[in-house]
């Protein structure tokens, strides 16, 4: 079978991965594409699909894999969701599902409208929609940053 998955995938750890699967579908519209449970009902492996991307949802499967809830809410990496549809509506859907909105939708100097939220176990997610065409020169002028590489 042709593997449709983008070659870079995040694997996110939860204390309760089953609850996370349900929540991520409700909040972000991710769809479970694979779920493997052992005979005790524990999640052995799972994947959720969003477009042609996959995020893996797992438990704390070694002593060094932790949910933010187990380590004082700290995140060492976050997952970014890039959408082409209404980011404000996306934010409202996440809020309705119980996401804590850390930064309300706001249009950034680089032309994306973004928001940031925290899920029930403390993972932070950023979401963006490109809403304005901005050139590298414009972005450098408004931000004062030197920018290398520009889409």
């Amino acid at each position: 079978m042709a593997d449709w998955r983008a070659p870079l995938m995040s694997a996110v750890c939860y204390l309760d991965p089953k609850a996370a699967l349900t929540w991520l579908e409700r909040a972000f519209g991710f769809e479970i594409s694979m779920l493997i449970e052992d005979d005790a009902g524990n999640v052995a492996h799972s994947e959720m699909r969003f477009g042609n991307a996959v995020v893996m949802i797992g438990n704390e499967w070694t002593a060094d894999h932790k949910s933010p809830r187990s380590i004082g809410g700290k995140n060492t990496q976050t997952v970014h969701i890039q959408i082409t549809t209404d980011v404000d509506a996306h934010c409202e859907r996440a809020r309705a599902a119980g996401a804590e909105i850390l930064a309300e939708p706001e249009t950034q100097f680089y032309g994306d409208r973004t928001y940031r939220c925290r899920d029930p176990e403390g993972h932070m997610w950023t979401v963006a929609q490109t809403v304005e065409a901005v050139t590298r020169e414009q972005a450098e002028t408004t931000s004062g940053l030197k920018i290398t590489g520009w889409m």
Partner: protein
């Protein structure tokens, strides 16, 4: 409790059409796998129904080149176009071991999310059927197997 392997993919068709192609054209789209062989030499799969309702007496069979018929399983639930459940027993299973496959068809916009949940495969005993795989590897391979089958339905639907 029983182990579960669940996979789902979208196909470009209505649930009605996806359900019909799943059942009526399984002989055409099915991809035999040496890892999950139902019989030693692959034959042609089909659903066979008697005079009664499909949910009573329907079965999934494999007709081999010489005409011999092997029963893979019996239809246990028949709810077109939403859901279909059948039992699953490979020829290399112990006689009394039956696992269960539930196929779902859920409309999502103009597409259909086809899901397969295969329950109880961890009960397959050690030996040739497992190809030496421990549970986690066996379950991953089973998930890949079913993902391939849904992919094949998607291609059959065009």
């Amino acid at each position: 409790m029983t182990s579960k392997v669940y996979v789902a993919l979208r196909v470009k068709a209505t649930p009605e059409r996806a359900f019909a192609v799943f059942v009526d054209e399984i002989g055409a789209w099915w991809r035999p796998s040496p890892l999950f062989e139902t019989t030693p030499r692959p034959g042609r799969l089909s659903f066979e129904f008697g005079a009664g309702p499909p949910g009573e007496g329907g079965r999934l069979i494999e007709t081999r080149a010489g005409g011999k018929v092997f029963e893979i399983g019996k239809v246990m639930a028949w709810e077109p176009p939403d859901r279909l459940v059948f039992s699953w027993r490979q020829a290399n299973f112990p006689l009394d071991l039956h696992t269960e496959v539930e196929v779902g068809f859920q409309a999502v916009g103009e597409e259909t999310r086809v899901s397969v949940e295969h329950r109880g495969f961890d009960r397959v005993p050690a030996g040739a059927v497992r190809h030496g795989f421990p549970d986690p590897v066996l379950m991953m391979r089973l998930a890949d197997f079913w993902r391939g089958q849904i992919d094949a339905i998607g291609q059959a639907l065009g």
